[in-house]
């Protein structure tokens, strides 16, 4: 279990307790947090669960991107070097206190 903070593009903050083994994306969907669409349901084939990890320490601490995640991010809305797909971030105690920022839109 980890407490994850989701911040919408307009600044609205949401916090959710997400169970271990779920993805950060699933944490948002199950708690009805807006800003993450996840059209493909976690298959890493749509880039609509795109988030930014603004805290550099956190970005480095997360497990590295697997093959394919950057390819998908190419297609996301305004990808940056701190972009991740939230379906690829699997929750464990290690993620306690993680904050993700949502982009302006998921296209």
């Amino acid at each position: 279990m980890a407490k994850i903070k989701y911040i919408e593009f307009n600044g609205t903050e949401h916090e959710a307790e997400v169970a271990n083994g779920l993805s950060v994306m699933e944490g948002a969907i199950q708690n009805d947090i807006p800003g993450i669409d996840a059209d493909c349901g976690g298959g890493m084939s749509c880039a609509t669960c795109h988030v930014y990890i603004n805290d550099d320490e956190w970005f480095k601490k997360l497990p590295e991107k697997e093959m394919g995640e950057d390819d998908m991010l190419d297609q996301a809305f305004e990808p940056k070097s701190n972009s991740r797909l939230s379906c690829q971030l699997i929750v464990s105690e290690d993620l306690e206190g993680l904050t993700v920022h949502m982009p302006e839109k998921q296209v």
């Binding site: 669409d37 059209d39 493909c40 349901g41 298959g43 084939s45 749509c46 880039a47 609509t48 950057d70 390819d71 190419d74 297609q75 809305f77 305004e78 990808p79 940056k80 070097s81 302006e104 839109k105 296209v107």
Partner: protein, 338 residues
């Protein structure tokens, strides 16, 4: 006007197996899909990726699954209407009148929406200013490459479409390729070729930049690009091409008066009918308590929706359940000789 028992929207695995079930119980159907090929997400998103959870099939790719489903419905000779999209529905005397983008018309008592998460559309530039030139000098696909001859073309993207067109157009146009990072996801041979063309100055390759704005006065004149740290450049452009893959959009479905829950359609689990009589929804696009977005769930939903369609297509007949192993009627429909 084509009269049929069922119009299926979506030629993915769920739509295909629903067609099979309709054929088995003796109904006719017409299948419409906005892609130019059969298979839906399986063929568009992961043709080569193995799937491990199709019952009794330990492992198959999206393409193999699609080919097997096509084979399975072959005996019924159903028509496919590809590269087309159902645009309008109208109810008249308990029949649905269906119109497609390409002007086809159907009359049917039943519509099965097996639309996945919507139809695939190209992803567009996020910049508002690009909309003005959309379809004229800002393009997301190429129909006629001769229009680029001797023109300045700025291509965005890092996948095969972007690389292939950059290579192809570099013969007769001034090509600039812009990508947001140094790595490309295209085929290694194309990436190699792009690097060569860049080294010998045939094309301009600019990485770690993305689009900021397009500028022009009536016609497109230039495109402004920005780096993540805020630097910007202006490049002369007669055409701007964006290749960012496809995105799924619900499209006209939202205008048909169906109840919607986020991007899904609530259905009952008896026959997968929606709030509209004679409109069924199956596969990823439907939702109900316990819904799993698995292909096998779509198969189950399609089988039950097919029986739901029978009621409206043959109001005077009683549906009789039969096994394919035992029924001679079904074997006739399948053209099986014993």
């Amino acid at each position: 006007m084509i009269k049929t028992d069922v119009v299926i929207i979506g030629a993915g695995p769920t739509g295909l197996f629903c067609a099979h079930q309709l054929g088995i119980i003796g109904l006719k159907c017409e299948i419409v899909d906005n892609l130019d090929k059969i298979g839906g997400q399986c063929i568009e998103l992961y043709p080569d990726k193995p799937i491990y959870d199709i019952p009794a099939v330990p492992k198959c790719t999206g393409e193999e699954l699609t080919n097997n489903l096509i084979e399975q419905i072959k005996p019924f000779n159903f028509n496919f209407h590809l590269s087309d999209r159902v645009q309008e529905l109208k109810n008249e005397n308990n029949k649905w009148l269906v119109k497609t983008l390409n002007g086809k018309e159907f009359e049917t008592p039943n519509i099965v929406i097996a639309g996945g998460v919507g139809s695939f559309e190209p992803r567009k530039f996020p910049t508002k200013s690009a909309e003005k030139y959309d379809g004229k000098s800002v393009l997301y696909s190429i129909k006629d490459k001769t229009i680029f001859k001797d023109k300045s073309v700025v291509i965005f993207g890092g996948g095969d479409s972007a690389l292939d067109w950059a290579i192809e157009l570099s013969n007769s146009s001034k090509v600039t390729l812009v990508h947001r990072r140094d790595e490309f996801r295209g085929a290694p041979a194309s990436v190699q070729k792009i690097k060569e063309l860049s080294d010998n100055k045939t094309i301009d390759l600019i990485t770690k930049y993305s689009i900021k704005d397009v500028k022009g006065n009536g016609s497109l004149e230039s495109v402004e690009i920005k780096s993540e740290s805020g630097e910007s450049k202006v490049i002369k452009a007669d055409y701007v091409l964006g290749f960012f893959g496809l995105i799924m959009q619900l499209g006209p479905i939202v205008e048909w008066g169906l109840n919607l829950d986020k991007k899904t359609i609530p259905v009952n689990t008896e026959n997968f009918e929606t709030n509209k009589k004679g409109i069924f929804a199956i596969g990823d696009i439907c939702t109900y308590p316990g819904k799993l977005k698995l292909i096998l769930s779509g198969f189950h939903e399609g089988a039950l929706a097919a029986r739901g369609c029978f009621k409206y297509a043959r109001p005077d007949e009683k549906y009789r359940f039969e096994f394919t192993t035992a029924s001679s009627t079904i074997k006739d429909r399948l053209g099986v000789k014993e």
